[in-house]
Symmetry: C2
Amino acid sequence: MSTTKRISIKDVARRAKVSITTVSRVINKLPTVNKRNVARVEQAVAELKYRPNVSAQRLASGSNNTIGLVMPGYPGIFHSFFAIEIIRGVGHACESLKLDMVFHITDGTNPLNTNFLGGILFADIIENRKQVQEALEQHIPCLVINNVVQDVDVSYIAINNIKGGKIAADYLVGLGHKRIATITGNLKTQGGFDRFDGFMRGLDEAKIETPKEYVYRGDYSRRSSRQAAEFFFSMKDRPTAIFAQSDDMALEVIAVAFEMGLRIPEDVSIIGFDDNPQALYGPIGLTTVRQPIFEMAEKGVRILHEFINGLREEKVQIAMDPELVVRDSCMPPAA
Amino acid sequence: MSTTKRISIKDVARRAKVSITTVSRVINKLPTVNKRNVARVEQAVAELKYRPNVSAQRLASGSNNTIGLVMPGYPGIFHSFFAIEIIRGVGHACESLKLDMVFHITDGTNPLNTNFLGGILFADIIENRKQVQEALEQHIPCLVINNVVQDVDVSYIAINNIKGGKIAADYLVGLGHKRIATITGNLKTQGGFDRFDGFMRGLDEAKIETPKEYVYRGDYSRRSSRQAAEFFFSMKDRPTAIFAQSDDMALEVIAVAFEMGLRIPEDVSIIGFDDNPQALYGPIGLTTVRQPIFEMAEKGVRILHEFINGLREEKVQIAMDPELVVRDSCMPPAA
DNA sequence: CTGAAAGCGCTAACAA
DNA sequence: TTGTTAGCGCTTTCAG
């Protein structure tokens, strides 16, 4: 319903005294145009401030170099290191592949308006399996990031969070800790659940018992972490080590520890998860488990790009490994 | 270049045994269709899993209910309360107005590919004035959010940050503080600069002198705030009150204070800016200056929507007022 | 209430 | 190297 008429390819053709085809060629940088005409067209474009109508281009060419990045809209998503790294990674890859990216935050309830996209990257799927299904039914190339998908036949690239959780457990156990607590992330997310699962598996293997009170169900928020920390630190049998399933939560644990007069790592060891650079500037270097989110996102775009251009056919299933980053927030328990 | 052929309106028409016009009518919910046909078409759509091609719709109708939200891509944008509130507000308004939203993060260097948008919302403009100019030249309705724009003839809706800064200064002065320090936000942003400006104005009016060391140039990051706090707290003439120009930074100041054994507000008063709910769950209720970002974003969408639909013509210039929120982090200075 | 037909602005054969 | 022409999938007159 916008009123003003926009400049079209015809106007440019008229002004440059060439056919619209030639204008189209210049716009698409096809080599088969005489230099003089290129110059004339470019000048006309500049004078008229012409921009091609993307809808028409898409309709005519059938092709589409715009990819959608859809993210679950759970509260706090924008506070999460995860989201930022995904966006950075996707953005970076799109830039180098000359893809346009459209960002979509969803709670999974509305159908996605995605048929103007060449491909879709789902960054984690929580409540939105239906949307993936739909996209697949539309024959739009899809790739799920950060999620091992079993029930839908779609390609994915994920982090091995089970291994990540186990790394944390093994490290703490190796240091000699017996009273080990954890603050989980959102257990509805696969990452959160797997981290927890791997962690408990590690403790089990080491025959370490974990009373229920040592497991606090957080949700990645600082708030939940604070509550957990206050709870742990006021127990009679205070844990000697805590695995916070995100660095951000670990930072909050450290803050609470300071507030309550506890020393880190002397009184309690803390290990995080992410390798969030924010943790570099706290009062103490945070030992953590690094997960290659940026790399995963980048790789995801490249694979999707191959799907879109038919350079790759077969489904892809990739799991990337996290790794331990030792800094200063852990030590063996006090005798 | 995607290969598989998608279902088109023709397929639906054939299956429902009606004309494509009728299918189009059903899709667009025009009332002039016989019930039986509506049912047949809807069934065909469901069976074929048909989705209209948005590009074709746009091309044919000329209309466009997609708006772009463009945000500056400065580092840390996704850690900022500002960004989240903007997205929430815009998202909320889009939902109720049935607009699609496309999210674009930019550093201002690349021209925006925006001609498939019905209108554009610029959330703050930092390095990207050119993009606004361009959009205007394309006759795309535009609205700038969070920025008082003087040099470009465009509508805007902003927060009166000067007043906001002054509110903070006045409050601290009113409490009796003389040694008042501040940690600025990013001074390259108008908000950051104005906050600082208003604050200094408030101190000037009260004839309070502020040595250079009392002004720390931060950038909204926790890191910069930590450095500032450590600096302030180790001065011989430690300030008795600090204005941190975002709640997030204020929280970091409080964390550092605890680490260094200082009490809040007994030893030092802290006032923030934003009214970030995150600040509700710290060790102490944060006194702050609230700015109605969510409301601003929502209102912005509504105005843009009116522009797009020709319901409003004249340029708009709105400044919204911040307000003081008193909680527990400030008190008069120790005698 | 319905359908035929004319585009929307552009790309992609096909000729020239 | 260029232009002509036929659509891409849909909306929108305009008759019926």
